[in-house]
Amino acid sequence: MNLFILLVVVLAIIAIAQLTKVYDLSRTLRNSREEEVSAADNRVNANAWIVWMFVFFGSVIYLYAKYGDYLPESASEHGVAMDKLMSLNIWLITIVFFIVNYLLFTFANKYRFNPNRKAKFFAHDNRLEMLWTLVPGVTMAFIIVYGLITWNNITGPASADAMKIELYSKQFDWTARYPGENKVFGAVDYNLIGTTNALGMVTKEGVAQKLAELDHNIESTEKAIADGVAKGTMPDSYMESLEEQLYKLKRHKQRILDLKENELNGQSQWLAGADDKIVKGEFHIPVGQEVEFVFRSQDVIHSAYMPHFRAQMNTVPGVPTRFKMKPTITTAEMRKKLGNDKFDYVLLCNKVCGAAHFNMKMTVVVDTPEDFNAWLAEQKTFSGEGAKKEEAAPAPASDTTMVAQTKI
């Protein structure tokens, strides 16, 4: 196979070389110069612009016809407005595309070289130039104003009764969290993340448990250092890595000691998480209800992209981000509309985040309010079944980064 390709390439090069030789020879015989574009060449190329124009325009129209209907209708309220703005813009740029390319290719064709003619000496014309400054200017003003009105609606503050859902990303999966009965998310901190606490929920017991674990590790590291010193034969690099480990553990402990127990709505946020519900694999939202997503990320930047809802927002470690939307079509309705009973809305990752970036997804289910409530009621709370149980939630295959919290 490789040999074959190589052979083809070599033969092609030889063929070109031979043809070039013949061509050069005939050129010398005819005494013609390379820079003097022959009448035949000029004609062929001038006509080729028109042929190309038809091929190009034809293919573009074909692509619009076959693929222009790109996504199913928007399943969110703001998406409908966005689609309207989009189709307006597409119409506009498509028309300009055809006009300008048409002018370009036909002028190229029409004003081909003719030795009996001299080009028109036309260096500038203020009125023309004013025209094509002002027309794009006015068009842009319109697009800007219309676009920004839509943008303000999309990004404006969520209404007071919006349902909050947290979407949490890590290499390479998503987790959703609902605030539960009290409508308040429990506090989270990355220092508490561990095998049994994937989101780093902060609770009194969790903090105590983590501190105990760290103390234990600090103790054994100190012991290892003392042993090493006593022996006096351990390599420096080993001793240094132990020292560094100890330093890290102490810093980790200090960061946890620094955590403050805040109150929100008269309730400790360390307690507010008890009724939070954490789900993986798929999450549900009720139709017709505004949802405000709050995004967090554990490791690198990811991006929460839900194309059917025309929704996207990056998830940034250390910087919570938000996006609000109101779903308008349930999964069941959309399945019926599309005649595809396997259809599902998806949440996918749209910021390169590592090798498995391309299949970091979660299913989104839009339910009727009744179905939604029934589904939510079935989900376990964070405390109810205990922090241990939460681990039993369907863990995705890629959940391999969750190795032991501290290794020595």
Binding site: R33, L71, M86, A119, M402
Partner: protein, 589 residues
């Protein structure tokens, strides 16, 4: 400088000082061009490798295994990490090495002294250093493809934390370190070159060469150099902070990160800060890539239409406007980072303003063709092609600039389609137009025009064949930098475009062999060039075909008119070189 007279040919230069450590701008220009061609071949090959995977996912290609070995393409199937590395290095090489270093390096060096009537660059030594930094940086970037763990893989934009944490992906280890070192050297090269270009244009214009008589190529190269000098240092700052985050335990870009079982000791940094710094360079960078191509095509279109470029002053004005605006639009890459929506609105406004000078340029090109007397040299074909790609790609930018629409197409194949057409194709077309047009000046021989036409048409058809359908893949919601799309049913109906796109990519890539062959063949065997083959007005065509140190054997030429007196009714010939004095009572432009 007056000492530079006829005895040039006599004193023998050693091979090394003539070809290797040359201070002569014409030789340095050729060095840049050949290095860029080589880098371009690598980048195209990389794109074909990953297009094979995208076109026929899971299919086995012996050729992949042959080139990449068992580690990166076991059984002929591209590895997932290797895929991302190829995409990243492809983008990096194309943007920085081919279209920044290569394009500006070649044509700023060749054309600035020749078109303004100078003996050489202000500093030949700095110019030589600029090339050597470029070469070393290219070699380091290539070397990074061979290290353990693979080359940088986080995309050419290397956003942290992904790029900052070696444990986040294999490519963020040694590969990323080399990427960063290479970039610092690259910026050094770019600054040495850019400062030199600016100083040369401002100080060394020959008698009579007023700023308003400069060819548009020189104007474009001047503004490009200014953009580079103002924006590249910001990239260095961003890169230095990233290097510190990687090696010294700082946390400029890092906060609250838990990765590979460890809660990192980082708080208070911001990954978004990097993006602000990166795009403060990154957006001007796309104009650094584009403006020289627009300058070249202005020159080529006027010459071959045998007409003055329409709206010379407006062309200068729009280059300046684009240059200025390019510094205040960077946030359009960050609408969905959680940036304050009001700031997003400001960026929508500034970004869409750029459409105005861009439209002026496009219409001025078209008006230049109108009632022209057009000779379709291969350079002219590429220049007309450039106007088409510039318009076609520019229009989709209007959608991406509109934050409300960007929400749904950000980071999808729509973006890939947009920037390849408006920046990739346009700049490559400009660069090729430049090579076809100035090859006689560089090598004293002509390129074969028949091969040139074949090269143009194959490139034009395949270029649009690759990139136009990507718009539809993108608005169907296909994210970029994906190794495989088969997981997502909703994309099934556009995925049949992928084999076609990849086929065009392979044919288009192979078509470049015509050019490579033509280029190297003609250096030695091309028809000998005459002094002014295209009957052009600018000063470079008044120098002898055989290169001499100091460019003009005698005194420097004196300039009496602008560069665009084509088909001037007051003259018999359809061109009037800039050195021709005004006739009695002639009206000057």
């Amino acid at each position: 400088m007056g000492a530079h007279t006829h005895d040039h040919g006599h004193h023998e230069e050693s091979f090394i000082s003539k070809y290797i450590f040359s201070h002569d701008h014409k030789m340095i220009s050729k060095q840049f061009l050949i290095t860029a061609i080589f880098m371009g071949i690598v980048a195209v090959m990389l794109s074909i490798f990953f297009r094979l995977q995208l076109g026929w996912p899971g299919e086995k290609f012996a050729i992949l295994n042959a080139f990449l070995g068992d580690k990166w393409a076991p059984d002929g199937i591209l590895d997932k990490n290797a895929y991302l590395a190829m995409v990243t290095i492809h983008g990096t090489i194309m943007v920085f090495f081919v279209l920044t270093g290569g394009l500006s390096g070649t044509f700023a060096n060749l054309l600035i002294p020749l078109q303004i009537g100078a003996r050489d660059m202000a500093s030949g030594f700095m110019n030589m250093l600029s090339y050597w930094f470029f070469l070393v940086s290219s070699l380091i970037m290539l070397a990074s493809l061979f290290v353990e763990g693979g080359a940088a893989s986080g995309g050419w934009t290397i956003y942290p934390p992904l790029s900052a944490l070696p444990q986040a992906m294999p490519g963020s280890g040694t590969g990323m370190t080399l990427w960063l070192i290479s970039m610092v050297l690259f910026v050094a090269s770019s600054l040495l070159g850019g400062l030199n270009y600016i100083v040369t244009i401002i100080n060394l214009r020959t008698k009579g060469m007023k700023m308003t008589r400069l060819p548009l190529t020189v104007w474009a190269l001047l503004v490009t150099a200014i953009l580079g000098v103002l924006s590249f240092p910001v990239l260095v700052s961003a890169v230095v902070l990233l290097i510190m985050d990687r090696t010294m335990g700082t946390a400029f870009y890092l906060s609250d990160i838990f990765i590979q079982g460890e809660a990192l000791d980082v708080t208070g940094g911001s990954p978004i800060l990097f993006q602000h710094l990166f795009w403060f360079l990154g957006h001007p960078e796309v104009y650094i890539v584009l403006l020289p191509a627009l300058g070249i095509s202005s020159e080529v279109i006027a010459t071959n239409s045998r007409k003055p470029i329409f709206g010379y002053k407006a062309m200068i004005g729009s280059i300046l406007a684009i240059g200025f605006l390019s510094f205040i639009v960077w946030g359009h890459h960050m609408y969905v980072t959680g940036m304050n929506p009001f700031i997003g609105s400001v960026f929508v406004f500034t970004t869409l303003l750029i459409a105005i000078p861009s439209a002026v340029k496009a219409f001025n090109y078209i008006t230049t063709l109108w009632q022209g007397n057009i000779k379709f040299t291969p350079a002219m074909m590429f220049s007309v092609g450039l106007v088409s790609t510039f318009v076609t790609g520019g229009l989709t930018g209007i959608i991406l600039a509109d934050s409300a629409l960007d929400v749904n197409v950000h980071d999808t194949y729509f973006v890939v389609a947009h920037f390849h057409i408006v920046m990739g194709m346009s700049a490559i077309f400009g660069m090729l137009a430049g090579v076809y047009h100035w090859f006689p000046k560089m090598y004293g021989r002509m390129l074969n025009s028949k091969l040139g036409y074949a090269h143009f048409w194959l490139t034009m058809v395949c270029g649009f064949g690759v990139f136009f359908p990507m718009h539809f893949v993108g608005i169907a919601g296909a994210p970029r930098r994906y190794y495989d799309y088969s997981e997502f049913d909703y994309l099934d109906h556009v995925m049949d475009l992928n084999p076609m796109i990849s086929t065009f990519a392979i044919i288009g890539g192979a078509a470049q062999l015509l050019f490579i062959f033509n280029f190297f063949h003609s250096i030695w065997y091309g028809q000998k060039a005459t002094q002014n083959p295209w009957k052009s007005n600018t000063l470079e065509w008044t120098t002898p075909v055989q290169h001499v140190h100091g460019n003009w054997p005698g005194a420097l030429p004196e300039v009496h008119r602008w560069a665009y007196d084509y088909s001037n009714p007051e003259h018999e010939e359809d061109f009037v070189p800039q050195i021709v004095p005004l006739k009695q009572g002639e009206h000057a432009h």
